[in-house]
């Protein structure tokens, strides 16, 4: 049980929540004194609303969970910083820079705070991405997005896709006999790996990676064991083998109803702003198994070997 707030705590809280609605202040007091988790979204929304520019394209009250803070709600990165400071001060939390970088949507912000306060480690449970969230992060978009859900946890990333049956290519693959193509199964595994690169590599390498800067480089030891048909769910699982700018190397498996569908020994993605066409094909060359067992050549950011 948290002690009752003192008069000076009240004054500080009022100062941190300047220009927020009285309901926001009341919720913050409820949270601080009683640990009421239901008050949390009220405080967070109240703070965001106070900083949202009047000209924003979407009002917060009409915003969905998947709304992106910057692109949809019209907040700039500095406003986000102001919001974080107000949240830190009013809820007595500390949000680290690297944590802040990973928050893109309203839902992520709420999840993050909830986990932070309840002490559940987000990392231990992994981070979850709905299909809507994935469309905000991945360059692949419907009808060529083959993921419904992704869970990211350290060096491991798991994805899931349920075959609808109305995918455009099933009409001819095969006529009157819809079978999910092996090439698309590998593509979906690649999309899962792409999410890992976009979400994890920037933090680990301390450099930004844009979604249009991730490229398929090579695939080695690819095996396909069993076909999958409409109604079935494919489960993808990848483990990072190596991350070294500008390459990420994964091993992956695909399962369906407990049975193995496919396996890849080495899936290599290349990323970065300086990679040109020929360099990505170089990277594919480099990534051949017998060469990769030697040291990976380091490609510096300006593209010189």
């Amino acid at each position: 049980m948290n002690p009752k707030l003192t008069e000076s705590d009240h004054a500080d809280l009022k100062e941190s929540l300047r220009r927020c609605s009285p309901a926001t202040l009341a919720a913050a007091i409820r949270f601080r004194e009683k640990g009421d988790l239901d008050a949390l979204p009220i405080v967070v929304f109240g703070i965001i609303e106070r900083y949202q520019p009047a000209t924003a394209p979407v009002r917060l009250s009409a915003a969905a969970d998947s709304m992106r803070l910057i692109e949809d709600l019209g907040l700039d990165s500095l406003t986000l910083l102001e919001i974080v400071m107000a949240i830190e001060e009013s809820l007595k939390l500390r949000i680290e820079n690297h944590e802040l970088r990973e928050i893109r949507t309203l839902r992520q912000l709420e999840d993050f705070l909830q986990a932070k306060i309840t002490g559940e480690k987000i990392a231990a449970h992994g981070r979850h991405y709905s299909r809507e969230q994935l469309t905000l992060i991945l360059p692949q978009q419907p009808p060529f997005l083959f993921l419904d859900y992704v869970e990211l946890d350290g060096d491991t990333v798991k994805g899931r896709y349920t075959i609808r049956g109305d995918e455009f290519f099933l009409e001819g693959h095969f006529k009157n006999n819809p079978v999910f193509p092996a090439s698309i199964v590998f593509e979906a595994l690649g999309q899962t790996a792409c999410l890992w690169v976009l979400e994890q590599a920037p933090t680990r390498l301390a450099k930004p990676i844009n979604s249009n800067q991730v490229f398929f480089a090579s695939l080695d030891g690819a095996h396909f064991y069993r076909k999958a048909t409409p109604g079935e769910s494919l489960n993808f699982e990848l483990s990072l083998l190596k991350l070294r700018d500008p390459l990420a190397v994964f091993a992956g498996t695909v399962t369906c109803a407990g049975g193995e569908v496919a396996r890849i020994e080495r899936l290599v993605l290349a990323f970065g702003d300086q990679l040109r066409e020929e360099e990505t094909s170089d990277a594919a060359e480099i990534a051949r198994p017998r060469q990769i067992q030697a040291t990976l050549p380091v490609v510096s950011r300006n593209g010189h070997h």
Binding site: R19, P53, T55, D76, L78, T79, L81, M85
Partner: protein, 432 residues
């Protein structure tokens, strides 16, 4: 000391004119209001509520009307409704940069510049920064912790805050500089803008001066007894008067658009005045006090005349620095007497007696006033003189409105440490 001659022949330099003005000043927030105040001798000085406390010996300030800064949070500030700024624009601003943003808007409009022309321009700006916001930011850091500092806590308070804000807001892509030479800062900015165009490096350069107007920007001068303790705004400031007892602080912003003559003519711009020369010197004497003989300012005036290629006899008017401090005014009178030692003496007045002393803003503000005097054909009056200081004998101080108006004038500025600037301007009539 020898007066340096013009390094580059006159014929090789571009001619420079002023094609736009902007004012947020104690005597008006726009050209028309300022003009009326200057012509009708209306003071911008009043009892300043921020000085109401009984322990504060100073009571007057040249207040900026229609702007209010009740707290350091920009969201609590108010300004005239005609100026629309977004949160993102306001967040890195201090009062000085907000005033200047508004004055820039006027200047851009009066000069009729397109966004592309603004982008090609340069910006020479002068401000002392916002000691008020700096104080608040540091107070927050020291009492509430480093992580509680405002993200914009540096950008909104350092002296460079002015040109940082203006260059980003107006998408200015030419040279951008801040000047810090105490009370001659923005006169230096005008001179630097003039040189950039004269040398053919820029077609258009904005010269800007701006200062906060609050107790933190003004009251520190009380510690050197530089501020007037008079309580009647109709008696002080009173430059050249025997009873002058110090300056009255003010803030605000002034913007001048300096433009190459041919460029201005090609686009059919309205020309307010021509800048014909300038000079800068230092007293090399004392950190606070001016040289009692006014030697540094005399050299500045003589060098400006040489730079402009005009004779002493051609000067009709001097807009004196004259802050209404006992030593400052005396030193300047001495400098004027020595510069104009022959028969001819130009009319002299201090417009600070109406506005108060704008510190870094003063030089640009008074150059802009001079443009109005040249364009509108009047001689600004030196207000509040009931008993002229006898040291002024022989110098025609303009104590009352006169019919005479200037064609060529000098504008003096001096600052702590003995920095002196003299700018020479000529009226623009019928294409010359």
């Amino acid at each position: 000391m020898q007066i340096p001659s013009r390094a580059i022949p006159h014929s090789e330099l571009k001619r420079v004119v002023i094609t736009g003005l902007g004012f947020i000043t104690s005597i008006g927030n726009g050209r028309n209001e300022v003009l009326r105040s200057l012509r009708e001798c209306r003071t911008g000085v009043e009892l300043f509520p921020e000085f109401a406390h009984q322990d504060i010996p100073v009571k007057l300030a040249g207040t900026i009307k229609e702007f209010h800064f009740p707290t350091p949070y920009f969201e609590d500030w108010t300004h005239p409704a005609e100026y629309q700024l977004t949160r993102e624009q306001m967040r890195p601003m201090a009062p000085n940069s907000l005033y200047a943003w508004c004055a820039m808007r006027q200047a851009v409009e009066s000069a009729g510049l397109t966004p592309a022309q603004i982008s090609e321009s340069g910006l020479m700006a002068a401000s002392g920064g916002s000691m008020w916001l700096a104080h608040d930011n540091l107070q927050t850091m020291l009492t509430r912790g480093v992580k509680r500092c405002q993200p914009m806590g540096i950008i909104n308070s350092i002296p460079g805050s002015l040109h940082i804000n203006l260059a980003a807001n107006f998408k200015i892509k030419g040279p951008t500089l801040g000047f810090s030479s105490a009370c001659s800062s923005s006169a230096h900015a005008v001179g630097a803008a003039f040189d950039l165009i004269r040398l053919g490096r820029q077609k258009i350069v904005f010269a800007v001066g701006a200062e906060d107007c609050n107790k933190i920007s003004i009251l520190p001068f009380a510690s050197v007894r530089a501020l007037s303790v008079q309580t009647d705004p109709n008696l002080s400031p009173c430059a050249f008067d025997l009873k002058r007892d110090g300056f009255v602080g003010t803030g605000g912003a002034a913007v001048l658009v300096l433009e190459e003559l041919e460029h201005a003519q090609r686009r059919d711009a309205t020309i307010c005045a021509e800048v014909i020369g300038w000079a800068q010197t230092s007293d090399g004497y004392n950190v606070l006090a001016p040289d009692p003989e006014g030697d540094g300012l005399r050299r500045a005036m003589e060098a400006a005349l040489a730079d402009a290629g005009i004779a002493r006899e051609e000067v009709d008017y001097i807009n004196a620095h004259a802050p209404s401090t006992p030593s400052g005014d005396a030193s300047e009178i001495c400098a004027i007497k020595r510069t104009f030692a022959g028969g001819h003496k130009p009319n002299v007045s201090s417009t600070k007696s109406l506005t108060g002393h704008g510190l870094s803003l003063a030089g640009a503000m008074e150059t802009a006033f001079c443009c109005l005097a040249l364009q509108e054909k009047f001689t600004p009056v030196s207000a509040h003189i009931s008993e002229l200081d006898p040291i002024c004998e022989g110098v025609p101080i303009v104590t009352k409105p006169i019919a005479d108006f200037p064609r060529i004038l000098l504008n003096n500025s001096s600052g702590f440490g003995g920095t002196n600037v003299c700018l020479a301007l000529r009226s623009w009539e019928n294409g010359r």
